[in-house]
Amino acid sequence: MSFDSTYTKELPLVESKTSFSEIDNVIAAPMESKPGKTWFLLLALSVTMLLFGAVCLGLTFWFGIGLWGNNQPVGWAFDITNFVFWIGIGHAGTLISAILFLLRQRWRTAIARFAEAMTIFAVMTAGIFPLIHVGRPWLAGYLLPYPNQNNVWPNFYSPLMWDVFAVSTYLTVSFVFWYIGLVPDFATLRDRTKAGIKKALFTILSLGWRNSNRHWQHYERTYLILAGLSTPLVLSVHTIVSFDFAVSVIPGWHTTIFPPYFVAGAVFSGFGMVSTVLIFVRKVFHMEHIITVNHLEKMNKILLATGSIVGYAYAMEFFIAWYSGNPFEMFVFINRAFGPYAWAYWTMISCNVIFPQLFWFKKIRRAIPVTLVIVILVNVGMWFERFVIIVTSLHRDFLPSSWGMFVPTLYDTGILIGSFGLFFTLVLLFARTLPVISIAEIKAVVPGAQPTHKHHTNGQH
């Protein structure tokens, strides 16, 4: 937060000169008022989805994963697709809160808190899938290297083991980063609240924060360090997720382009999801002057950039398949584009590569309804990307005798719907219980919030 804004000329980050107490009121409003009908309707919808998924999952626990459409040769299907999809969604939060912080992109302030929360919820959702994929998730504790009765240590050279460490570290560090950002806001809320359980909770959660500058000093440095740690962390997580595929020897997976390709795809899908949610949030909670069209436009630019990187990766995969001269590799890619799952492939290409190109036009970048349609398409496209990578690479094995098709069952679809239900339920609860925008940080970027330093610069503000 401590950086000088004099060297760039930016559009105002908060529209009009908003007073500090007004910021408090706007951001605390959803927490201090009774939710409206829209909120309850949305919550009912997402909880229904969640319960549907929970029933499908319960039946899966009872009868086993034979209820799913997974088969030989398609041993990884919806479960791993969903895992990679949700982990990818989580990447936008850390990108916004850490990388954009290090890059001094102050516009991140308005959207960082929400994006960080979405990161945590998305990683929680993602974490379910590898666990249920193993069939007996109650034995997942054996993944951790603790001295157990088996007298066996896990294999540290397996990408699946790397996944365990990467995802759990990512969840922990994201949570700490998020919580540390919330502490000053809890202090503000504590002092706004008169009495009762709410007051007690805010008192505990604020850790007795006093907004003291002697504290801010260490706080800001810690925030910077956490941002510095999270940046390589977020890159490592999706790199390691891509290792699950790249380290194997399956044609279509065994490629060196996977780590950067996955990271770009993760950022792309994450921004798609953040945009989707924020477009509703700013409208429902009347925060249009804090989450402005300028913010959405900037996010659209990132979507355009990452979408193009993803498009480049798709093209490069095909080129390498041809250039390698490996007949299996060539077959997999021709099969991808023209085989029985061609519909999925072309859905992916149109949603991820073609439609985001519309963001080259400023009018479209700033048109909120069009943006909403495109970002939803990006979500769809990125889910299909993981589906295409997993299923089309597996379903036609080396020998034609081992060819098969994957058809999702009701339970596959139900658990996918349930994962959206879980995510949106958590998002909706978060929007009503915690400050969705960082109060302290947004105050710091309001026009006139920083001293003019009359004595050493003639700077503008």
């Binding site: 626990f61 050279y157 570290t169 700490v176 540390i180 706004r192 007795g208 500058n213 810690t222 105050k443």
Partner: protein, 404 residues
């Protein structure tokens, strides 16, 4: 006793109320002043630092640029904590992987060395980040900022409520060396601030009980939580985890030997082989129902060695001795539960060829059942060698005592 507890509870209630009452009755903690703009607070901080005060602090709703310099604060050293914790994390990860995979449980994986550095890098990196992030955060909260501390005298004052919202505050603590109540008030008055207020320590009037930990309600909640946690842990670990669907593969949908099964009409779980089934390596017995004169041509394929005789003895003792007795005299241990067989030392049996005995063991005779299913073919021949030894021992001639 009951009155004492009631009194105790009342005192605790008082404790809770006096803590929040205003005006506070304790010693002076500090004097505070509020400002409206960041420019004013920067100037005020500079002035206070220049006036030589050390124990003063500035409170702002967000970090204000240039405040650290204005307050003449030294740079935060927390970066060193992050570095040390990160190095610790990396070393921990490498030692863990090296010891677990390279020393304690050596396992060949893909022909790699027991400890392979490239494969260890992802986990090493993750643990570096994890240690560094957690330790740095914990150090920031607890070590550098001395938090959590919710009973600081500044809490629950109008001053605190202003600086967590829209005002900028400055506080000079009474603990400062140069603190003098009147001087500080005058000094703060010159800073163009407003709402100069004295902050006092609240004195909790709790009688003889000093600590709210002994609050009955609090202790009750702790006790109930502990009991519920214990019950829940016991139920989950010992009961819930061993019911469906938590499957430990102890019970599987299969037929166990000797078990009942409703699947088959006869109610047995075990099945007989299909009629005419021949086991691998099995040679059918060709002499069934043939006259003794033919059977006696069947010769013992085993050589007469001590090893074979020992094997024959083991098998004889297991399968034959219950009826025939350990020495084949027809004095089995069944004590009339089953008719005793005749002795094996009769003229008839002694004159039998090996083939004839083999035929009886294999197919049975009179009430004796067939042993072809329970005694392996070679073992039957070994038993015959042993029976010959028994016959010789029971019918020894005097000449046998003469040495060769």
């Amino acid at each position: 006793m009951a009155i004492k507890i009631k009194e105790f509870i009342n005192r605790l209630k008082e404790y809770n109320t006096t803590w929040k009452t205003e005006p506070r009755s304790g010693q002076l903690h500090s004097i505070s002043v509020l400002f409206d703009t960041p420019d004013q607070i920067i100037e005020a901080a500079k002035a206070t630092a220049n006036a030589g005060y050390k124990k003063f602090d500035v409170f702002t709703p967000y970090p204000v640029h240039g405040m650290d310099e204005a307050m003449k604060m030294k740079e935060s050293k927390i970066g060193w904590i992050a570095l040390l914790a990160g190095i610790t994390g990396a070393i921990t990860a490498l030692l863990m992987i090296g010891w677990m995979g390279g020393i304690d449980y050596k396992n060949i994986i893909g022909g790699k060395p027991f400890f392979a550095l490239p494969g260890s890098i992802p986990i090493t990196f993750e643990l570096t980040v994890l240690f560094s992030a957690l330790v740095t955060t914990a150090a920031m909260v607890a070590l550098f900022n001395k938090l959590p501390w919710t009973s600081n005298p500044l809490h629950e004052t109008p001053f605190m409520k202003s600086v967590t919202s829209d005002k900028f505050g400055l506080v000079i603590e009474a603990a400062d060396k140069h603190f003098d109540e009147r001087n500080v008030e005058n000094f703060l008055g010159q800073l163009h601030g407003h709402s100069i207020e004295k902050v006092y320590y609240p004195i909790p009037d709790v009688g003889k009980t000093k600590t709210p930990v002994f609050d009955l309600k609090f202790m009750g909640v702790i006790a109930v939580t502990a009991i519920l946690t214990a019950i829940a842990s016991y139920a989950v670990l010992n009961k819930v985890l061993y019911t469906q669907p938590f499957n430990w593969m102890w019970e599987q949908p299969r037929l166990n030997p000797q078990a009942q099964s409703n699947f088959f009409g006869d109610g047995f779980g075990m099945r007989m082989p299909v009629e005419g089934t021949v086991a691998r390596g099995f040679i059918p017995y060709e002499y069934k129902g043939m006259p003794d004169s033919v059977i006696k041509l069947l010769a013992n394929p085993l050589a007469l060695t001590e090893e074979v005789i020992q094997r024959g003895k083991v098998k004889f003792d297991i399968f034959c001795s219950p009826c025939h007795g350990y020495y084949g005299q027809g004095d089995g241990r069944l004590k009339g539960q089953f008719p005793n067989p005749p002795t094996l030392h009769s003229e008839k049996v002694r004159n039998w060829q090996d083939g004839n005995i083999y035929n009886v063991i294999t197919n049975g005779q009179n009430v004796m059942p067939a042993y072809d299913k329970s005694v392996a073919r070679e073992d039957r021949w070994a038993i015959i060698h042993y029976i010959r030894v028994l016959q010789r021992s029971q019918n020894a001639k005097d000449t046998d005592l003469e040495g060769k």
